[in-house]
Subunit: 345 residues, 2 copies
């Protein structure tokens, strides 16, 4: 096919040294060199030394593409997150890549833009690259995504919420229990009219679970029940600020807001600063998640702490365990949550 004389080629020719080049220099077979790199304990100390010297001499860099083709392992794990520009997902990415990289795995990262169809496209792209495993950041998927993952027969971890109908493995926490705990805290502080700012619940089990917890707490504690006390909006500072204002206009008697994301809560809190409203004096504000600067604001944000980095680490570990044939103790891991009660509520 191509002109490839079987001689040491200069590094400047664009022809990188291959396993056979190392083998020739080391006076060993290619197979022994390959083993020296992957399973050094199966090779004599003498051979190991000769291989090391030959690699240093040739500047050989193993070609993981060819290795993947023949071993049917790419050491690649795909990760789908809603958006890379949100610190909670950045923490998950950091945890996951740290565990993967320590084992010579790399992550392929894609942001779905919070759109299920985007997730399906990313999964297809990752499967085309023959990723050894896939991590998803929600538990709601298109039929196409589920089918593709089931056909691929690779380890899959869903994260973010516990689910009754997992594809394979799950690392999550109970959004319902966490939101219920925060509502309990607010009610315990004497708040009787509490507003709720969250994501649209349609097709979003996590958002639906948080909202359901709100409704249940309203009923359980005998709180004010009114449609205008709850708002669905995107998770950004501006939306949080606007939602706060709208709730307070319709219900001036509101004394607390539970914002089901950290950025919505911070947006609301900063809006209060702008208007000179005392927090928590005039209105208390509680958030959800703790990856941003909520702890540093004045007043510091009361929120729900989710171990986002741990989620990434556990997900990666479960994928690795399965790939390396270790038994998975529990296919569904609950990492739990913690109320971070600070100043704002």
């Amino acid at each position: 096919m191509r002109d490839r004389p079987d001689q040491p080629r200069a590094a400047d020719s664009g022809n990188a040294p291959r396993l056979t080049d190392v083998a020739r220099v080391a006076r060993l077979s290619a197979m022994t060199v390959s083993r020296a790199l992957r399973e050094p304990e199966k090779v004599s100390a003498e051979a190991r030394a000769r291989v090391a010297a030959a690699i240093a001499e040739t500047g050989y860099v193993p070609d993981l593409v060819a290795s993947s083709l023949t071993s049917r392992r790419t050491r690649l794990v795909g990760l789908v997150i809603p958006t890379i520009t949100a610190s909670i997902y950045a923490a998950t990415v950091a945890g996951m890549t740290a565990v993967l990289r320590a084992r010579q795995f790399e992550a392929l990262i894609g942001d779905s833009g919070y759109v299920l169809d985007g997730e399906e496209k990313l999964v297809a792209a990752f499967l085309g690259r023959r990723a050894d495993g896939i991590v998803l950041s929600n538990v709601e998927h298109t039929g196409g995504t589920r089918r593709a993952l089931e056909r691929a027969r690779i380890p899959v971890v869903e994260t973010g919420n516990l689910t009754a109908d997992p594809i394979d493995m799950v690392v999550g926490f109970s959004n319902h229990a966490a939101a219920l705990a925060m509502m309990g805290h607010l009610a315990g502080r004497g708040h009787r009219t509490i507003g709720f700012i969250g994501a649209a619940v349609a097709g979003n089990p996590q958002a639906a679970d948080r909202r359901r917890a709100y409704d249940e707490a309203v009923a359980a504690h005998g709180l004010t029940r009114a449609p205008a006390l709850t708002i669905e909006c995107p998770s950004d500072l501006e939306a949080g600020a606007k939602a706060l204002v709208r709730i307070c206009e319709r219900h001036p008697e509101v004394t607390a807001i539970f914002a089901a994301s950290e950025v919505r809560a911070i947006g609301a809190l900063l809006e209060c600063q702008r208007r000179g409203w005392q927090v928590p004096g005039r209105i208390a504000i509680a958030g959800f998640n703790d990856a941003g600067m909520g702890a540093w604001l004045v007043p510091a944000l009361t929120t729900v702490r989710i171990p986002r980095e741990e989620i990434g680490r556990r997900a990666a570990q479960m994928i690795l365990d399965r790939l390396e044939g270790r038994a998975i103790a529990e296919a569904q891991v609950d990492v739990g949550f913690e109320l971070a009660v600070r100043e704002s509520a």
Copy 2:
């Protein structure tokens, strides 16, 4: 080698359909199927239709690993950033992956932890995976990194600062000019004693450029010059807060702080809130970068706006241009900066 009868294999056997399976169903050669997928204009409409039908029937997913081995193209671009959990780099990642994904490329992302040796390890890992291009997030590298990249003969983009000694291509801006502009703004507002909080300059040309601009501005505008007015610290909220306090203790006459990162500035600003110091009345605060929530704080942060997402997009585009044989107009692109004068200074 393996038992692989040349018959349609069931999806449940773990044997995914290959190009030849599609070819058999479509009654075409494997090569025509391959072309129909990659260069559809070179194939008849009839053949395209048969291929499409056969792919739908078999559920074929092209194996990009095998494709990469034979085409010597992985459609993978490596990106090294200091840390994934900083919004300025998240913006660059978002810009880069958006451009890459539109062309069926994926990014391999690694965080160096602000350590040059970490960068070298990541570059080695990316080269082992035969990435088609590499993007680095600084212009300072180990000798090993430079040598490895030069031997690999692939397009490389350095980002973040303009440099006199590029490896290949650069997308950056002048940290010196940007910092000088901000100092000019502060001096123009009448501040005569200005503190500076930045990163350690040793081995960090960007930090050194910002600091040099501060020194030059102090001299040019005849400002107070004192060692205790400048502090080197990490880029986090707490460090920013502590640095502010230390400068004010030693120099109570200071009226403005220039923090050479957004999070240091926000840390300082929030510390002022905590202490009840008016900003900018008691002390003015200016930052650098605009990817976080500086615009939303009360008072809103005056800062330098760097188009971080554009940096990611341009870097990806330059890599793609080179890979696809298009001429690069300028190997060093200056994306510029903009002063965002808001309330805090």
